[in-house]
Symmetry: C2
Subunit: 242 residues, 2 copies
Amino acid sequence: MSNYDLKQEVTDKYSLRGRVFNKLRADILSGKYKDHEELKEVAIGEELGVSRTPVREAFRQLELEGLIQIIPNKGAYVTGITAKDVQDIYMIRSLLEGLCARWATEHITEAQLEELEENVYLADFHASKGHLDQMADLDNRFHHILYEACNSRQLERLLVDFHEYVLRVRKKTLSNGGRGKISNDEHRQIMEAIKDKDGGRAEELAHEHMINAYDNMVKNGLYHIYPMEGEESLEMEGRDKP
Amino acid sequence: MSNYDLKQEVTDKYSLRGRVFNKLRADILSGKYKDHEELKEVAIGEELGVSRTPVREAFRQLELEGLIQIIPNKGAYVTGITAKDVQDIYMIRSLLEGLCARWATEHITEAQLEELEENVYLADFHASKGHLDQMADLDNRFHHILYEACNSRQLERLLVDFHEYVLRVRKKTLSNGGRGKISNDEHRQIMEAIKDKDGGRAEELAHEHMINAYDNMVKNGLYHIYPMEGEESLEMEGRDKP
DNA sequence: CTAGGTATAATTGTATGCAATCATACGATA
DNA sequence: TATCGTATGATTGCATACAATTATACCTAG
């Protein structure tokens, strides 16, 4: 995986609850826990070397993210994620990324615009060199700048969430063929539309960018639902297990 | 308030945690807790007559909904909701309701379509009679049918969530002037577009319907952010407080 | 042999205790 | 007087104990 770390994990990374949450989410999205599988508090707790309390708190959050369903007094059941979910999310994202680009056009600061330009410029360089990790970082960063620039807490929260989600089921999308270069060209167009204060064009370009990304991902089989491959293991590092 | 109950509260209503969650969310959205106010576990717990455990679990969920921010080892702080949040949500919703209508056109069942027709027909009657509560129920139900009909877990989850959200800050939007009638006319047009299998038109109509609803709400000052008025009190009914 | 019921086990829901962390106040020192 | 350090209190993080609920197994009656 790349060395890019989202600035804020959805929940804090250093509490037990946060680590349980992130681990379980990763395990669900990566397919370790199968659809409809029951998650038992004590079992999870023992596996991770923690008590039921942080496990329960993590469950509550996973439920709100739609990854598990909790039936009161019965149990927590994995909801999994299907290929259709991924497709739907990309379609939803394509609309929202468009809206985001439009709003960003109206609200972006000079500093943010400059960072966008620098991002595109740098990505051009790394694309030519085939530096995949850096490309992935810059891609993530590009979108996050727009999320911030759109000046909407609500939209930013949604998009950050979806982006997170997608990162987990996506293999290195940019690593194949010329998509890295093409993707960055699309970034450049978006950036220039924003620079020109052409919100409508920015919206349309961002919209298409997302659809292209999805098409490319599907066409090349670059995403998994339940891969079972040795993804980054998200171990509970730094804690002694009794 | 109307006698309409969302089929599923976001979290179950009869556990202590669920009641704490719903109560806190309502109190935040209704303005009982002001922006940046700190929520203390013991204080909330004592107020509601429960221990810290269910309060903590409710906090975790409220954090994910963006209503509070939890700073590890420090505390939970209310994020509140601003007029801009409401506006943004309506703009986001207008896009997603459009997408929902389009997808619903492709996936709606005969039974669902029939319920839509019945809904519009009935609403016409109640509109002429000025039955506000029934109008509100039918309005909610109309949208929920579409949420189900769109055949997308992801989109449904988002829209149900936003709808819930909006219900809390909205006074009786349909109660004024002729909006009830007009709104139902828009519903009819959407329904007919879906019946005609014209997804594009359904999308556009649903999109505009939402923008109209927002405009009407704002123009008439029919929503509140921090009202302090005697909203339904969402008491923790059915539990003895020691 | 099956249906129903009861006892028992397993699991979740809640409360509480203890440890860790953070805020505050007070005092010592420059 | 200002600043740093320490002590104390408040608050959260986690673990565990107990209560309530649900699932399972076994036994009995028909």
